[in-house]
Structures are given as C-alpha cells and as structure tokens.
Amino acid sequence: MLGKLDWSAIPFDQPIPLIAGGVVLIGILAVLIWVVVKGHLPYLWHEWITSVDHKRIGVMYILLASVMLLRGGSDAIMMRIQQAIAYQSQGYLPPEHYNQIFSAHGTIMIFFVAMPFVIGLMNLVVPLQLGVRDVAFPTLNSVGFWLTATGALLVNLSLVIGEFARTGWLAFPPLSELSYSPGVGVDYYAWSLQISGVGTLVAGINLVTTVLKLRTKGMNYLRMPMFCWTTLASNLLIVAAFPILTATLAMLLLDRYLGFHFFTNEAGGNIMMFMNLIWAWGHPEVYILVLPAFGIFSEVVSTFSGKALFGYRSMVLATMAICLIAFMVWLHHFFTMGAGPDVNAIFGIASMVIAVPTGVKIYNWLFTMYGGRIRFATPMLWAVGFMVTFIIGGLTGVLVAVPPADFMLHNSMFLVAHFHNVIIGGVLFGAFAGFEYWFPKAFGFRLDERWGKLAFWFTFVGFYITFVPLYVAGMLGMTRRLQHYDVAEWRPWMIVAAIGMAVLSVGVICQILQLVVSIRNREALRDRTGDPWDGRSLEWATSSPPPVFNFAFHPDVRGEDAYWDMKIAAQQQSLEHEVPEYHDIEMPRNSPTGFVCAFFATIMGFALIWHIWWMVILGGIGAFATFVVFAWRDHDEYVIPAAEVAAIDRVNLEERRNLVSMAGAI
C-alpha cells in the first residue's frame, strides 16, 4: 500500500534533523494559520499563487531562493563546525549524517538557491528592459516556477521522511547505484532534480523566446541592455544543457528502478559515461549561473558610474564566446581519470581560454568606472567586491585548469575554495547586487542603505576569512568531504574558517534586518519616480512597482541606453509633451495551472521515491487532466480598457515630468 514507506523512515534516533524539521513544521503551520485567520488566503491565491505576471513570478523565485539559501547556509555552518572540532575525534555529526549534509548543501545551493535567484531576477527584469508586457508564455512561466518549488519541497521532505543522498551533489556512480546506495536518498536527489529541471527548461525556453521575439519597437539586438544579452546566453545554455541532465538522471533512475546497466559495474555498464554526460551539463551550468550575474554587474556598474557601458559590443562578443566555449571544457573535471596527455592538454587550453572573454569583461567594467561619477550605493559595493573576489577565483581557476597542477589539487580543499570563490564571489554577489538594485522597481521602495552596507562588509570580510584558509588547507593536502581528520597542520585553518563562517552569518543576519527595517520604514523610503538610481535602461521608464501591463504603450527605442536617451531628449526639448494615445491592452488571465501541476508533480515524485505505484498512476492521470483542462480554457485573456490604462499611466507620467524638470533645473 505504501511501498517502502513505514515508520522507520522517520529518523527518531537523530535529534538534529528531527528538531530542525519540527521547528520548520511549526513555523510553516504558524504562517499558514496566521494567513488563514487574517483572511489573507484569497489575496495570496488570486494575486500570487495563480499569478502569471512575470514580475510576481520573479519575486516568488527570489523568495524561494532566499529561503533555501538559509537552509543551505545552515548546512554550511554545520560542516564548518564539524571540521573545526573533528580533529582526532568524531565531532558531533555521525559520518552518514555528515555525508547527507554536504550532498544536500551542494545540491540546494546550486539548484534551489543560485538557479531560482538568477531565473527570478531575469523573469522580473528582462521583459521590462525589453519594453514588453510579459514573457512569451506566461502560464508556462508559472508552471516552471511551481515545478522548481516542488523540487525544493522534496529535498526538504527528505530531512524528516527518509534520508538524502550521501553521494555528493552530482551522485557519481557506482556509489549512487542501488547496490551501494540502497536507500531512498539518491531517489530523493534524482526526482527532485528531474522535476525542477523540467521547470528550469521551461523557464529557459520562455526567456530565449522572449528575448529573441518580443523586443519593443526599435530595440535591435545591439541596443539590448547587457543583462538581456547575458540572459539570452544563459538561457541558450539552459536549453542546450538541461536536457543532458534530464537524460543522465533518467539513465541513473532506470539503473536503480528497473535494473538497467548504464553505469553499473556489471554487465558492461560504463561509469566514465556518467562523468562525461553529467559534466557536459555541469560545466555549462556554471556559466548559466554566472552569465546573468555578469549582466547584472554591467547594469550596476554603468548606472552607478553615470556612464554608458564601455565596449558594449566587445561585451556582447565576450558573452557569446563564453556561451560557446562553456561546452568545450567539461573534461577538465576529470583530468586525473586517465584520459591521456593529449586530451588533457586540449581541454586544459580550452579551459584557460575562457579566461580571455572574462578578462575582457573585467576590463570593460573597469573602463566604465574610469572617469565616471561613481556612487557607492549598496549594489555598486557588491559589484566592486565581486570584481576583486572574482579575479582571485578566476586566477585559481586558471591554475587548476593546468593539468599537472590539477593532479596535485584535484579533490582537495583548494578546489572547494576555488569554486566557492567564483560561485559566491560571482553568482551570489551578483544576485545580491541585483536584489538591491531592482528591489525598488519590484516593490516601490528602496532598501535601507546603512544595513545594506553593513551586510556587504560582513559578508565580504567573512567570505575571505572562510575561504582563504581552505586554499591553504588544500595546499597542505587536505581533501574535500572529510568527516574527521588526524593532521595537526590543518586544524588551525579549519578553526579560522569556522570563525569566518560566523562573520559571514552576521552578514546574512544584517541582510535580513535590512529587509525588516526597510519594510518598516517603507513610507520614508518610497520611490515615486520609478527611477531611484538615475537608471539607463527601460525598466526605469515605468512606475515602481510597474502596473500589471508594464508599459501603457510600447516604447520606441532609438539607441543603446534607451531610457537615458529619453531623459536627455526630454530635457533638451524643454519638457513639451503630447498626451500619448492609449489603447485597450490584452493581458493573460491568472491561472492555477502551475500550482495544480506542481501539486501532482509533488505527489508523483514522492510516490516514485517510495515506490507507491498506485499513487504514481494517480498523479500521472492528474497531470494529464490538468493539461487537458488548461487546453480547454476559452478565455485566457482579459482586456484592460484604454481609459483605465490612461488613468494609471497619467500618475506615472506626472512623476516623471517632475523628475526630468528637476534634473533640468540642476
């Protein structure tokens, strides 16, 4: 009846996950009760859960990422404490629990923090920057988000019901095969990634189509803001790489569920094939994450330097070069596995070549700042912090791209330090910069600068105190994933890293406080102009938060930095405006399709993990029924009358005229 599920699945003997799970459960229940009692449920349902508005979906993505960041961060804190005290002792975590923690940490941070964060920002901003009303497929967008949420939910369920994988974040066989991992941990891993992977693919298709087919009038390719370019590159990579992950995980699951022999030791299975396939996805994945961050930095650096981006065209070229080369370097993840010197040399060179377009970008940002009027607002701080940190991460990356050096540093703490250096210093800093930068656009008020700067400095300093010692430990020969160790020289570095983690955590707390303080003072921080940073691209041309239709009429773009040009022109023409002609606007209707899909996907995923076959069939039928019901809808759009559009837009135009006249007076 319930497959493999019984009471033994709940780890009564392990207090940490139980207490954590209990606290989370109480928290969720408390929030739910509060929502229902206060009568917020209809609002949440109509305005958020069923929303197909790209801005709302973007915000929900970022919210999901933030919550999961806290979860993945607690895992990190636990690991740092363990390694600080586990010198010639067992520490406080039993090995199998420790193995689950590092696997969950990697999986969560990549799939459920970094991915939703950048996809959320792209969702929120790209249609605004392109001057259009929504993404190409709004309902599909909602489906994509809710499937990602399903994956996150399944990972968190594994905390209390059953276990998570103990195989690292990429579940290498044969360890992840049934004979070595008979439990449900790897199944949790594979199904949550499979489901959220579909969500990611859907988002990728959506954004590629949006950028290529939905630009406003006059927005030629070489007038698109840099963030749109990096979004395009990143989503092209998603479309090309995520199917590889889907296929690879499908093969692993076939091995585990039906006794296939793709990656087994027996009957001719080929383990190297898993390595090739998973890294053919995994390496582009790194660029899927970091390219949007590059785009965010381009926007931030040019806005806060008060200058157009230096070398725009070379930036576009560098972005697309990275997009291409990302697929030619995957083999550097297994230099040490005996591919031979020729293959290693070719892939080593390809890996180093990526540093060239990345270097082009760094110089472009520096030259954008050179001679500019730089304002060190919080987003700019994150951008400058990124440049310093990422250069170090990039240099150590070139170091491990040299095959002989990699033989020494392979699987060591040096590697751990390197990729945290680029992922935190690149992706996470970028995500935070984007969060601070576009927050007023999404919610209509700015974030508190004082707490934002404190958060930056604690995170920045904490980051170095945490990860520089890991470089040293790696040079001293410490390998990754150690549950305990007996080498005295490593210990001081582990203690310093743990202290760094504490400083880093203060940064996170500051960021939470920043949010709390800003929401409390939102009236004082209100942005009425829609353009709090004196921005240059079209998202600042509409009000904050933008109306549901984004733009009352399609903007007409005449050059790079579309909104900047408009502002200059408005000043020069001494503020003579005609009233625009408004038309009715058709917008997609809200739809519960995404939520219902995810509901059935959760049921199916859970049932598959626990081999509850009747429930799998039920979920499958439900999913197909949802598809048909969605296809059967008659009215998927509603019309906003021109008069209403005019009324909403008039307020925005008025504020904007004040803004321009003020700037003109100066």
Binding site: V132, T209, L254, F260, T264, G268, V628, W632
Partner: protein, 213 residues
C-alpha cells in the same frame, strides 16, 4: 506621441556599421508560439542525442548476451518505418486541412495518423515483449539497456503524441478552428514531424548499422 518619439538622432547606428534595419516590435502570437516550440524541440533533440551517445558507447558491451544483428528483425523495422513516414504525410494533410478549415479532411488525416502511430507502437511493443520473453530484457546487458532506452524513449514520445493527437481532434470537435487551437495544431505537427526525424536517426544508427555487425 510620447516623450520617446521626439528623439531625433542623425545616426541611429553610432558606429556606422552597415545599414540598421529598425526592429518593428514584438512578433505575432503565432510566430512566438511556433518559435518557442522549435526551441523546445531542439532541447528534446539534445536529450535524444544523449541516448544516442549512450547507445554508441555501450553498443559493444553485450556481456556475452546477444548482439544487435542477432535480435533485430529487418521486416518489422521496415513496416514501422513505413508507418511512421506515412503518418508524417497524413499529419501534413491534416495540417493543410486545418489551415483551410476543412473538418472532414482534418478528422480523416488525424485519424489515419493516429492509426499509423498505433500500428507503429504495437509493432514496437511486440518487439520489446518478444525480447523480454526470450530473456533479452534491458537488464541483460548494457547494450540492451541502451537499446531499450533509446528506442523506448522514442516510443514514449510517440505515445504522448497520440494522446496529444486525440486531444487536438476533440478540441477541433468542441471549439472548431479557433486561433489558439490552430496554434496548438501547428505545434503538434512540428512535434510529430520531429519524431519522424528522430526515427530516421534510430533506424540508421540502431537497426541499419546494428544489423551489419
């Protein structure tokens, strides 16, 4: 006009590189839908290419089990291929019928497509059942794992296509040739033709090359 339209620039192209064609604005729904679906199909083909690659890697890993030439039946594969290629033609007929709003020919074309698809699936199912009953199931060897996965994945796609086909017929029956129904029909046709292309790959890489070994 808005303040945007008042910008008068001598050079829209600041770098004077060639003639810039002004972008006319967002594309029509039909184009956006078809374009998005093409992108999806490309991603689906990437997924298939992984199974093709796995097959190519594992084709000789028979673990003392049967080789391809010992289990493939050319006659069945020939019938399968004919069915699928013909179904692509009838699907094309149904698309044209939908474009000219001819219900009779639409239903006829779709029904024949459906029957041909089902025959294809039946033959494939019989081939699989036969192999399993002889002890040559996917868990026999890595070669057979890769074979069943690649061909089975295509079969799953055809099955999904048949479900979609029936939904399309029901939709035209209930709603007629509305613009959104026609857009979906276009996507379905693209999907069905793409399955054909993938089958040509399966046919060549698995059955033709496999029979020679």
């Amino acid at each position: 006009m808005s303040m945007t339209a008042t910008v008068g620039r001598a050079h829209a192209d600041p770098h004077h590189i060639g003639v810039i064609v002004e972008h006319p604005g967002p594309a029509s729904k039909r184009i956006v839908t078809a374009y998005g679906f093409w992108v999806f199909l490309l991603s689906d083909i990437v997924m298939f290419s992984c199974f093709f690659a796995a097959y190519a890697v594992l084709v000789s890993q028979t673990a003392d089990g049967p080789k391809g030439s010992e289990i493939f039946e050319q006659r069945n594969v020939a019938i399968e291929t004919v069915c699928l290629l013909l179904s692509s033609f009838t699907c094309g007929m149904a698309s044209i019928a939908a474009d000219v709003r001819n219900r009779l020919w639409f239903y006829l074309g779709m029904a024949v497509t459906c029957v041909l698809g089902l025959i294809f699936l039946a033959i494939e199912f019989r081939e699989f059942a036969d192999l399993v009953s002889r002890g040559y199931g996917p868990s026999r060897s890595a070669f057979l794992s890769a074979f069943f996965s690649l061909v089975g994945c295509h079969g799953l796609h055809v099955s999904a296509g048949v479900l979609w086909l029936l939904t399309m017929m029901a939709q035209v029956f209930a709603k007629g040739f509305r613009a959104d129904v026609l857009r979906r029909m276009m996507c379905f046709a693209l999907f069905w033709h793409a399955l054909d292309i993938i089958w040509v790959g399966v046919f060549s890489v698995v059955y033709l090359l496999g029979s020679g070994v």
